[in-house]
């Protein structure tokens, strides 16, 4: 990006230490090179947007961050220490919660059971330790209400929810459990206007609580609304990182789409995109 001096390889603001720092991550699937050396980090209280075209490698990248994939090469530092997550469970225990693009919900199970899947609240101890269903239902309804959705019943199967409701459950779940890092992979793709603004303000809220947010979106307005830094991926590589205020939304949009093609389109669509 030599032609645009404002879009530089943005450094971490010197005052904040990153919670998670990914160094030169490579990921190969057989002969497919999905990631080819991506460096990325999140500091507490910031929203770092990850942008890029379809197939750029965004989802693959956040999956290495949340323990789903092991990187082929590269290092992960969590709070300054090198770390390798063996499973998503490890990452969760470290305080990283993720909304995956495919949501990771189980249609046959109830909303509450999905919400707490893998980290159920318990009561009692020893052999009498059991799933605290009442508390789980309560928390689940409450968290959903905060996101602007009144559930009909917490024991409703997720398969019967609408696409947006389902996405909201996944977001509410991640927000509830994301103690240090919250990763959102296109969380607003199916949401209505009110729920989208709810999600954006939720991002703002948890950021103020010191959580580091990684936000993937194809919508530049959403990204500009909450992002502090913007990293653009293209074909498995970083194009660069920009800090808020240093880049306009048109410039960002051009970068995300690889510049040229969008310019052509804009002509025929009369600049409506």
């Amino acid at each position: 990006m030599s032609h645009d001096s404002r879009f530089h390889h943005g450094d971490v603001p010197t005052d904040a230490k990153p919670i998670i720092h990914m160094e030169n991550i490579k990921k190969h699937f057989g002969n497919v090179i999905a990631l080819n050396g991506v460096t990325f980090d999140v500091t507490p209280g910031e929203c770092h947007c990850l942008l890029g075209d379809n197939g750029a490698g965004k989802s693959t990248f956040i999956k290495t961050m949340s323990g789903v994939h092991k990187p082929t090469a590269g290092k992960i530092f969590f709070e300054g220490k090198p770390l390798a997550f063996d499973s998503p469970r490890d990452a969760m225990e470290a305080g990283i919660a993720t909304v995956f693009q495919d949501l990771a919900m189980i249609p046959l199970m109830s909303v509450t059971r999905n919400f707490f899947m893998g980290r159920e609240p318990t009561k009692g101890r020893g052999i009498a330790k059991r799933f605290d269903v009442d508390r789980a239902n309560e928390i689940c309804m409450e968290e959903m209400r905060k996101m602007g959705i009144n559930l009909r019943a917490p024991d409703q199967a997720v398969g019967t929810l609408s696409g947006g409701e389902r996405q909201t459950v996944a977001i509410a779940r991640a927000v509830h459990f994301g103690a240090k890092v919250l990763i959102l992979d296109e969380p607003t793709s199916a949401l209505g206007v009110r729920q989208t603004s709810n999600v954006l303000s939720t991002i703002d809220r948890v950021r103020q609580q010191g959580v580091g947010v990684v936000f993937i979106s194809h919508n530049v307005r959403h990204a500009m609304a909450v992002g502090d830094r913007f990293t653009v991926l293209n074909r498995g590589q970083t194009l660069g990182t920009a800090v808020k205020g240093e880049i306009s939304s048109t410039e960002l949009q051009d970068l995300m789409a690889g510049g040229q093609e969008l310019a052509e389109l804009e002509g025929s669509l009369g600049g409506t995109i």
């Binding site: 499973s87 998503p88 469970r89 189980i106 046959l108 707490f116 893998g118 980290r119 059991r130 019943a153």
Partner: protein, 368 residues
């Protein structure tokens, strides 16, 4: 978010009728089946079937099958099958027979060793399924033949050429642990009830039913524990999640590998428990023990409301499924029907259950 909005109930919910609530229970079909089968035999069978001794008569085979069926149901909810459990009954029976007869171990050692051996084989099954990613149907089908063959070969080896190992009764005679795995429980209570004239007695005054066969107690206890674990513990939630969508469960932090391997170990142990109970009861073991039981256990689980695709089902459903099974097998002997109607009856039940479950599933998930 204003407070009044929170309090306001959603106007789009219609009050759920009691019937729809019931429909959402996976075990509904099995309970309905029990009612139907009971009605059928009330009209066709000799009244002796529903006396205390008649009930014990059909509950005993139901219990032996049910222990397998409940374990198979849990595994099926977790998204896998185990076709090797029938052969496992024979194999564990052989191990148990050899430990008690040939090496003369007391039950306190022989039973845990038998269970541990079975659990290891179950774990190997699970690991092969996970490592290869092959359907468990095929992997355990191989197990079905390997274990059946190993029981034959092993029995001949240990007995010097026979496929039957005798002498278990003598070997466990007088062992303090034997009453837990064989014979009848609550004999005192039944004797007392008989003396009060509350239950049927022989002319001599001893009750016709001396007590409750212990396998029935194991069966009931297992059904209760399995139901509790499935519905009220985190592990139960993991089982449903793993069977519902392994990948989603894993990404949400469920230790799916451990869940699946544990479930394979559970089915193997259930088979070993049935082996111990039936071998002590019969006093001997042979290579045909548990023949076809894997299919009967799966039928039990399906009648009990388990979906073949995993992620849905119930242990209490399998409990009732096994009772249906016991009633039909034994019940026909109380009727004028030819015994061989049994298999037709069973196939029909299975077909009905699968169709019924499919409809229910669509209702629960609101599939569109």
């Amino acid at each position: 978010m204003s407070a009044d909005m929170i309090e306001q109930p959603d106007e789009r919910i219609r009050a759920e009728s009691f019937a729809t609530k019931l429909m959402k229970k996976p075990e509904l079909g099995a309970i309905g089946g029990v009612v139907l089968v009971t009605l059928f035999f009330l009209f066709t069978a000799d009244s002796a079937m529903f006396t205390l001794s008649g009930i014990m008569n059909f509950m005993t085979p139901a219990a032996q099958l049910g222990i397998l069926g409940i374990a198979a149901a849990m595994l099926m909810i977790g998204g896998e099958f185990d076709l090797s459990i029938g052969s496992m009954v024979a194999f564990a029976g052989m191990i148990f027979g050899v430990l008690t007869v040939n090496t003369g171990l007391p039950l306190i050692l022989a039973i845990p060793l038998t269970l541990a051996f079975a659990a290891c084989i179950g774990a190997v099954n699970g690991m092969i399924v996970l490592r290869t990613g092959l359907p468990s149907f095929i992997v355990t089908l191989a197990g079905l033949f390997i274990l059946r063959g190993a029981s034959l070969v092993g029995l001949k080896l240990f007995t010097g050429g026979s496929t039957q190992l005798r002498g278990v009764r003598d070997a466990v005679e007088g062992d303090w642990l034997a009453p837990v795995f064989s014979g009848d429980a609550f004999t005192g209570l039944f004797g007392w009830l008989a003396s009060l004239g509350l239950i049927e007695t022989f002319k001599s005054g001893t009750p016709k039913v001396p007590g409750i066969p212990v396998e029935i107690l194991w069966f009931i206890a297992f059904a209760l524990v399995a139901t509790y674990v499935l519905l009220r513990t985190p592990v139960g939630n993991w089982v449903f999640a793993t069977g519902g969508d392994t990948n989603a469960a894993k990404n949400s932090g469920v230790p799916v590998r451990n869940v699946k391997i544990s479930l394979f170990m559970l089915t193997a142990c259930a088979a070993a428990l049935v082996a111990v109970i039936t071998v002590i009861d019969a006093g001997s073991t042979d290579a045909r023990r548990g023949f076809m039981k894997e299919f009967e256990a799966i039928i039990t689980a399906v009648i009990g409301g388990c979906l073949l695709t995993g992620g849905y089902g119930s242990a209490i459903g399998a409990f009732f499924g096994a009772i249906i099974f016991g009633m039909v097998t034994i019940g026909l002997t109380y009727t004028d029907f030819d015994q061989d109607w049994f298999q037709i009856f069973l196939g029909g039940m299975l077909l009905l259950a699968v169709v019924f479950n499919n409809v229910i599933r669509k209702r629960v998930t609101g599939e569109r």
